[in-house]
């Protein structure tokens, strides 16, 4: 599956929700089911500090692909993280660099990812792209 295909799958999942309540309930569910990051990965170096919530992001590079794990202290943020992990984890660096993340707007979460919300998500995406750039340079 390509990044675009993973994004389309998420768009389809969200298309059944007609009001915001159902959508956020789903995000909360996703947040609760996000696989827990290794406790050792929740380090100061992996911490992306937003004013509102904290996000931890760790990356492993194996056989040409980057695997991300992440966590947050806020559950809705965690739900959105789980979508980002689904899209980005297990991809080649170049694919991550090229991704435009159109699905976020499609499913109506662009507000949560605007730089003004200071919840750490914008910085998280930036960090994901940095990892991709770094790993592609080290190849």
């Amino acid at each position: 599956m390509t990044i675009k295909e993973a994004e389309n799958q998420i768009i389809e999942e969200f298309s059944i929700f007609t009001d915001w309540l159902d959508k956020y309930e789903y995000l909360i569910e996703l947040g609760k089911s996000l696989p827990i990051i290794k406790e050792s990965s929740k380090s100061e170096t992996n911490l992306i500090k937003g004013c509102q919530s904290k996000v931890w992001l760790a990356a492993d590079y194996k056989d040409g692909k980057i695997y991300f794990t992440a966590d947050s202290d806020a559950i809705i943020t965690k739900g959105i993280i789980s979508l980002l992990i689904r899209v980005f984890s297990g991809r080649a660096p170049q694919e991550i660099i090229d991704a435009d993340l159109g699905f976020i707007k499609e499913i109506g979460l662009q507000d949560n990812l605007s730089p003004t919300r200071s919840n750490g998500l914008v910085s998280m995406i930036k960090q994901i792209k940095f990892y991709a750039l770094a790993f592609s340079a080290n190849k």
Binding site: L21, Y24, I28, Q52
Partner: protein
């Protein structure tokens, strides 16, 4: 003049309150951050931007004369509002933070020396910590901190021991904490500080809204506040200072309007209060603040007091009905500002979902990290109400909160 003493009358004057947010009628509970503006303030600001606009104190032409009149008229309104002795004691700044920075810089320059100290409390906003920390670093002085107890109240019994060695040169404390919503015993603190010859600055960002301030009765050396929390425009603030101190303090910023004569050899400074008003001041903001103060005078004082008591009682009752809710700042001198957490639920999650229901709350550290550490949390939720909020809004807020908590549990 017929005074306003009816909540729907008051709301009618605030156009922002009748809007919908996320498809729901707005419930604006973030007044501690900034207040909505009454129509008269909006109209005056519009009128000035679209016509009555000329730089103040500078020209002989009609527009300049009219803005100068509005600006100085606003100064008189502020003077009267806080019962200061003279216009020379009212300095316009850009806000509370700017006022504190002005005093932290200028006062410290004149009076703070190596080995001396500045007294704060644990409940201060960052704006009343950082400027003093910077001043202390510059002058080789230290901060001393009066701790708060588990309810967020000052540990007054420790005050004398912090003052008794004579090292403290100024105390700077909040009238009402922006997190705890408790009216601090500033009268008692001022009295104690004066016994040791220590001048006191009161950060009135929240205090000016929720109590009538009389600087002469308080006898504080400085009192500072912002216009935008007091229904005025953003970018305007006030520094009240006793003349005897303002006269001894050097100017902080240099430039237009603060000078007497300028030569390359030596510049003399303008008299008070212009000595501290370098550059073109926010004269439209100041006029707007004057107008906001005028609007407040039109509301029945007893109504304001009784209405706030009703809101506080209703809110405390509502919050008490929420399972596992912990309220920070418990006192019989509580204003309509409530910070809390519920179990382990993250404040941001609650605030985000409440926003979807049209309710504006604050979440996070609220610019008071030391106070967050004191309570062992990384954030709180805050509902801060104002004269235009209603009992119905509180009920909707409490019901919505319960619904949101259920979603998150």
């Amino acid at each position: 003049m017929e005074l306003i003493k009816d909540i729907s009358d008051i709301r009618h004057h605030f156009p922002a309150l009748s809007q919908s947010v996320n498809g729901k009628p707005l419930v604006y509970f973030d007044n501690g951050a900034t207040a909505q503006k009454p129509d008269c303030v909006i109209e005056l600001v519009n009128k000035m931007n679209s016509g009555i606009n000329g730089n103040i104190h500078r020209a002989v032409h009609e527009l300049s004369a009219r803005t100068t009149e509005l600006y100085e008229g606003a100064r008189e309104s502020v003077r009267n509002f806080i019962n200061a002795d003279s216009r020379e004691e009212i300095v316009f700044t850009s806000g509370t933070t700017a006022s504190i920075n002005l005093v932290a810089n200028s006062f410290s320059q004149a009076f703070l020396k190596k080995g001396e100290a500045v007294l704060l409390t644990e409940g201060e906003h960052h704006s009343n910590i950082v400027p003093w920390q910077m001043a202390c670093e510059r002058h080789g002085a230290k901060l001393r901190v009066l701790p708060v107890d588990e309810n967020g109240c000052w540990k007054m019994e420790l005050l004398d021991s912090l003052l008794s060695d004579g090292k403290v040169k100024i105390a700077s404390v909040a009238h009402i904490s922006n997190v705890l919503g408790v009216v601090n015993p500033i009268e008692e603190l001022i009295e104690a500080c004066h016994r040791f010859g220590v001048p006191v600055m009161i950060d009135g960002a929240q205090g000016i809204i929720h109590s009538s301030v009389d600087v002469k009765k308080l006898d504080c050396e400085f009192y500072v506040f912002s216009g935008h929390k007091l229904y005025g425009p953003t970018g305007i603030g006030v520094l009240y200072g006793k003349k005897v101190f303002l006269q001894k303090m050097p100017p902080w910023m240099g430039g237009g309007d603060m000078v007497g004569t300028v030569t390359f050899k030596k510049t003399t400074y303008a008299d008070l209060p212009l000595k501290f008003e370098a550059g073109t001041p926010n004269f439209i903001g100041a006029a707007g603040l004057g107008e906001a103060i005028g609007f407040l005078a039109k509301i029945d004082k007893n109504f304001i007091k009784e209405h706030e008591e009703i809101l506080v009682a209703r809110m405390l009752e509502g919050l008490a009905s929420v399972d596992k809710l912990k309220l920070y700042g418990v006192s019989d001198r509580k204003i309509s500002l409530f910070s809390f957490n519920v179990g382990n639920v993250h404040p941001t999650d609650v605030a985000m979902l409440m926003d979807k229901m049209g309710i504006a709350l604050r979440s996070g550290m609220m610019c008071a990290e030391p106070l967050m550490s004191h309570f062992g949390v990384s954030g709180m939720l805050r509902a801060s109400l104002s004269v235009y909020n209603t009992v119905e809004e509180i009920d909707y807020f409490v019901n919505s909160l319960k619904r949101v908590l259920k979603m998150l549990s």
